[in-house]
Symmetry: C2
């Protein structure tokens, strides 16, 4: 395909999405809920076909030498399949985020003003191998009245074709182009997609910093960014030792390779002697390497040396860094300097200190006496999410159907003029 | 100043803003309200000094051959001065947008989850000559707990120095660096500002499409965009003729050069013969040139020819284009194709048709039986605004203090772990 043919083909696909979004905007809440139920049913009905296509993708991946973690994410096992279904149904159960009156008043001139939530229009997802992202995103977009263009990783193309075909078969009376697979191969095609400012309202690149930065450079379409998760827990002076150890160890060890797992513990100087030895023992037992500041190592000499680069590292592995700080101000300053604004917590028995932490720490999720692993769409009752935003504009934290809406101001007059 | 010195100087200024924002986040609602009152008082007290500096700027501008409209916008007359004061006080009167519980529930695991509005952090404004933007933006940012970096046009530098100095003198116990003038000359300095991703949370370029596109290309900081206002009024089949003519003429003629003034009228075929002659007469009387489609010109032969480019033009002048359409679907399709998503209206006596228009038209403001000139922060009870967003992400339409906030998720547990 020549460059101009490719441009035309991608434009045509995106225009179809835009038109489908316009039609979906005219559907009722009930129709969208019904559609989501049917989407779940279609996926159930296509189970054998989906698993067969997925086995083919996995075989191809192995042949081309794709390694452990990617292959693991690519494979749909029974648990993954059930989660896919559950999340589509969860989106069907969610209250509709569209058409809500966010504000409603009559102004001094007698104009009746309201602010009403509305779909964004067309959302384009660029993501990697996991095929459950396909159903999650489709569900979140349909719940919020948006059309979606799905560009998954090339490794999962067979699986995604079958999934998207099943999802589209659920459309009856609503334009099936609300869900489209971006089935062009090669980076040139993606580059064309990035130019579609007239048709695409939001781009969501999911696949690490390099992908996001490349998209930022090439596209003028608004982007939702999901950068690093350098998450902290601050153990305050008054922290309960047992709770501190349990919460901190769970924050790190429940799963290593995810963005809301813990990377750095900040422990107050006045409780370090009391809590650090037990914490070190618990981490050692869990097979986690502990690196610490000089003060840490005075208290527990077995702790390895942490250098400046440790504070700025998202390990995503069985390593943790620990630093002794003097009070909440120093803890907050450390988080401001090295954190990524994803999820940060405090262990304290003081409500006042917790409230101060909320004001001092500028992060998407603040965990009080709870594991960082609990931050996310499921805990926040969001159903299917399309990703987690580490930016502050538009959406922050998990991005579910509610975050995929914008709003319109509506002013109703009776011939009102401006004087 | 060398490039690296400039980088250091700009970094130092931005870091001061970031630190000031952190301190402002710890202030109370009452302190911020009090601060806004004092800012208004300081401006009143500095009136003579401000007008003197402004006279100097105007003189310099005239000497360098600056023409009518820019000079007019640069000059602070008594009305402008009173508006500046009124808007700072209006911001003081507004309910505080920070710390609101947007959501609040206990989840299935007993974690108490809330979503709390919070300041963005540091807002950088890049704008042109109007010095009242300086006070408007400072007021909107302080009301929302944000620090602001103000980079006004070079023509207004004397005025802005005096205004910012007066505003900063109001700070007592809160860091005055919450308001900083970006007092570096030249584009190199602005380019450095555009790189400050670690310190600046939101960039607002106000000054036309070329400026916004340049900023988009050079910066990875999130941007609020204020593009064109190609606004429409659709006169539906059942429209009252008198109201239609009054609202449409007011939408166009109350002021020509602003973004929410009308550019195109879409008139339904079934009422065109009834309404168009009177509408044409009213426009002619107001000195507005009317261009129309062939069907228009059959009904009123004096109407000039409109070509394709007319539908896509923001005249900002005494010219209007009129097109006859068949029904609401065609009207909405025209708006989708040629509009800019700023403000679009319908004249109808049917609530049902108005509701359909709201669903079909994807714009920031939808006016029902009211002038497009009424869309804006004042009508929407927003007080001081920093601009109007034609984008759909984060803020849409007028951007006031409420729109300059983000949120934090806060989860309170009692040692909650992830299983």
């Amino acid at each position: 395909m020549s460059a101009s043919e490719l441009n035309q083909a991608v434009s045509a696909l995106c225009l179809k999405s835009k038109q489908a979004a316009g039609r979906l905007a005219l559907s009722t809440v009930g129709q969208r809920t019904e559609l989501l139920r049917k989407m779940a049913e279609s996926i159930v009905a296509a189970k054998d076909e989906i698993l067969k296509a997925n086995a083919e993708d996995c075989l191809q991946a192995q042949k081309s030498g794709i390694n452990g973690p990617i292959l693991k994410r690519l494979k749909i096992d029974d648990k993954t399949f059930q989660t896919m279904i559950r999340r589509i149904n969860a989106a069907a159960d969610l209250p509709d985020p569209v058409g809500k009156r966010l504000e409603d008043f009559t102004n001094a001139e007698g104009l009746q003003v309201s602010k009403i939530s509305a779909p964004l229009g067309v959302v384009a997802m660029i993501y990697e191998s996991r095929p459950n992202v396909t159903t999650d995103c489709a569900a979140a977009c349909i719940r919020s009245g948006n059309a979606v263009i799905l560009r998954g990783g090339s490794e999962s193309i067979c699986t995604n074709r079958v999934i998207v075909s099943a999802l589209r078969s659920a459309f009856d009376g609503i334009d099936e182009n609300c869900i489209q697979l971006f089935d062009f191969s090669g980076h040139e095609a993606v580059d064309e997609l990035l130019k579609m400012t007239d048709f695409v309202d939001l781009l969501i690149p999911r696949g690490g910093r390099a992908l996001i930065e490349a998209v930022e450079k090439k596209s003028r379409i608004p982007i939702m960014r999901h950068y690093d998760g350098i998450c902290h827990q601050y153990i305050a002076a008054d922290a309960d030792a047992k709770m501190a150890v349990e919460v901190v160890v769970n924050s790190k060890c429940q799963r290593f390779e995810v963005c809301n797992s813990l990377e750095t513990v900040l422990i107050d100087r006045s409780c370090a002697t009391r809590i650090l030895p037990g914490l070190f023992a618990a981490f050692s037992k869990a097979g986690v390497t502990v690196r610490g500041c000089p003060v840490c190592r005075e208290i527990v000499p077995e702790i390895e040396v942490a250098d400046e680069s440790d504070w700025a590292t998202e390990y995503l592995d069985a390593i943790i860094s620990i630093r002794v700080v003097c009070g909440i101000e120093e803890a907050a300053a450390h988080i401001a300097k090295y954190g990524s604004g994803h999820t940060d917590g405090i262990i304290t028995s003081s409500d006042k200190l917790a409230d101060e932490f909320i004001l001092r720490v500028d992060s998407g999720s603040i965990m009080i006496n709870s594991s960082t692993r609990l931050s996310g769409g499921e805990a926040y009752n969001m159903g299917a999410v399309v990703g987690i935003s580490t930016g502050k504009l538009h959406a922050r934290g998990p991005v579910g159907p509610n975050e995929l809406t914008t709003y319109k101001w509506v002013a109703r007059g009776e011939g009102h003029l401006r004087k």
